[in-house]
């Protein structure tokens, strides 16, 4: 049995919220998570928070009560939420705390992320030249992958259409209008082969999770969910990563493969034991590639899996049941925790119209982001 349990979850809906700061959304998520766990803010022994653009997370404490608790801030690119969770997991495993909270929130401006590439004394030659856009990386990676492994543009549209279909069933999602595959394919091309509706957008939202020692989980939750693995990995030599001005000529595996293998080893199970997964879908091609990189299929099998609807909520192996990043947007600090939130709902059997059938027992999350970092969690009940 795992050492750490998730006993409370709270969320502020994703999307655009002009009347609320990112931090206020974070505080709302905290109150909801504490209420779900049946604990008072005063009971929380430590907090770990992550946000890229919405302020230093520990500044939210006055909104919740100045209890003097240790509060650490985490920033780790797109894996910020996942890294906050891993820090809390390790704190509890190490015996340095029995009950803690993880908070992820963010609020980004409209449009693609502006790359921050500090110039080396001169001009910012990388961004200045019209490179340094994350969208370019994802487009190049899937374009190459499609040619190598026989993935069609229709498959890209299938992933996005599924995301909007699942988002339409999720009251917390941002994009809740279903969209046809043809509408997605005919939308303006942003970065070949990816159209506007195949990409997620930077957005807003917040998630909080209450964690505690597994042997005390029964005090706080009727249906505790256990965190069997929480792993992050950075990139190794030879991998193909976002915002890389150059790549090695020899090819190696990326951080997702490394994080996934380590997580399965930690949990003592394999991909065949997983009932559903939330996988980083910065754009629809990323979901396709990440299915293979996380060990859930071989390269190229995704085409037939998507055609057969295997990754739909009612399919053999549901992926991104809450609509993923494509339907929820990507508030960096909260995105990885949104995946965990959804998996907790699914494992509790509380996902309502999105509920995956077959009484799922194991669920998987994966984030990937700049500058080449992956985070994986495995949850069970």
């Amino acid at each position: 049995m795992s050492d750490v349990a998730i006993v409370g979850i709270g969320m502020h809906s994703f999307g655009r919220h002009d009347d609320l700061s990112g931090m206020e959304q974070g505080a709302i998520a905290v109150r909801r998570a504490c209420a779900d766990a049946g604990v008072a803010w005063d009971d929380v022994e430590f907090a770990i928070g992550g946000s890229r653009d919405a302020g230093q997370p520990d500044k939210m404490v006055p909104m919740l009560g100045l209890t003097g608790l240790p509060f650490q801030n985490v920033i780790n690119g797109c894996a910020t939420g996942g890294s906050a969770l891993i820090s809390a997991y390790n704190t509890i495993k190490a015996g340095a705390g029995d009950l803690g909270i993880v908070i992820g929130f963010d609020k980004h401006g409209r449009g693609a992320f502006v790359p921050s590439t500090p110039p080396s004394g001169g001009r910012d030659w990388y961004g200045g030249s019209g490179l340094a856009l994350t969208t370019q990386f994802f487009a190049m990676k899937i374009n190459r992958y499609m040619q190598q492994h026989g993935i069609s543009r229709r498959a890209l549209a299938r992933v996005a259409a599924k995301a909007f279909r699942n988002g339409a069933k999720n009251p917390m999602a941002w994009r809740r209008r279903e969209m046809s595959e043809d509408e997605i394919l005919e939308a303006p091309m942003l970065s070949y082969p990816l159209t506007q509706y195949m990409f997620c957008s930077p957005g807003e939202g917040a998630v909080a999770l209450v964690l505690c020692r597994a042997d005390r989980a029964g005090r706080h939750a009727r249906r505790p969910i256990f965190l069997d693995a929480a792993v992050i990995r950075s990139r190794r030599f030879g991998s193909f990563e976002v915002l890389a001005p150059s790549l090695a000529i020899e090819d190696g595996v990326g951080p997702t493969v490394d994080a996934s293998r380590a997580a399965f080893e930690q949990a003592g199970i394999g991909p065949e034991d997983v009932a559903l997964a939330q996988l980083q879908d910065t754009e629809s091609g990323a979901e396709i590639m990440h299915m293979a990189e996380n060990g859930f299929c071989h390269d190229g099998e995704q085409e037939a899996m998507l055609e057969a609807g295997e990754t739909e909520i009612g399919g053999r192996f549901p992926v991104n049941t809450d609509g993923g990043c494509i339907a929820n947007g990507e508030p960096i600090g909260a995105s990885g925790l949104r995946q965990v939130y959804e998996n907790v709902l699914q494992l509790r059997g509380d996902a309502g119209v999105r509920q995956v059938g077959g009484d799922p027992k194991v669920a998987y999350t994966h984030v990937y982001g700049s500058p080449g970092i992956s985070g994986v969690t495995i949850l069970s009940r």
Binding site: R123, W125, Y126, G128, S129, G130, N143, M189, S246, L247
Partner: protein, 143 residues
């Protein structure tokens, strides 16, 4: 009016042909672009600055169809006049380099095609100098 490199430490245009500058690890021979002080492969710190080759094969590509935000982008950001440009990795003899491509039509781009280093204008600075950056063009005009 002169033509100036976007960054002389990255792109040297002082000679007859433009050259990209990278680093070579004296211990393991691994190259990086741009110049950096440590080795990505063996962690060594004995690096020398070298001129990279100017020809290679296209390894991955896309087309940038919307204007990047400025800053940092120095080129045209006006949606009514913006011209899409290709972006790709070109496998040089030493390392795969990310660069603009002079070709922006998907039907004319294919992994494995021969490419060579070229210059593209980005903007004019306050002194009237033309700022250029590097790009790769299909070799021999074979588009």
């Amino acid at each position: 009016m002169a033509r100036i490199s976007i960054d002389d430490a990255v792109l040297d245009i002082s000679g007859g042909e433009p050259r990209l500058l990278g680093s070579r690890c004296r211990a393991c021979g691994t190259h990086t672009f741009p110049v950096q002080s440590g080795c990505v492969r063996c962690s060594g710190d004995d690096m020398e600055t070298v001129r990279l080759g100017t020809r290679g094969e296209l390894w991955a590509w896309t087309v940038q169809a919307f204007p990047p935000k400025a800053p940092p982008y120095l080129g045209d950001t006006d949606r009514s006049t913006f011209e899409p440009y290709g972006v790709g990795y070109v496998q040089l003899p030493e390392v795969r380099v990310e660069a603009r491509l002079t070709e922006a039509r998907p039907e004319h781009l294919k992994n494995g095609m021969e490419m060579e280093l070229a210059l593209v204008p980005l903007a004019t600075d306050d002194d009237g100098n033309e700022i250029v950056t590097f790009a790769f063009a299909p070799s021999g005009g074979a588009t």
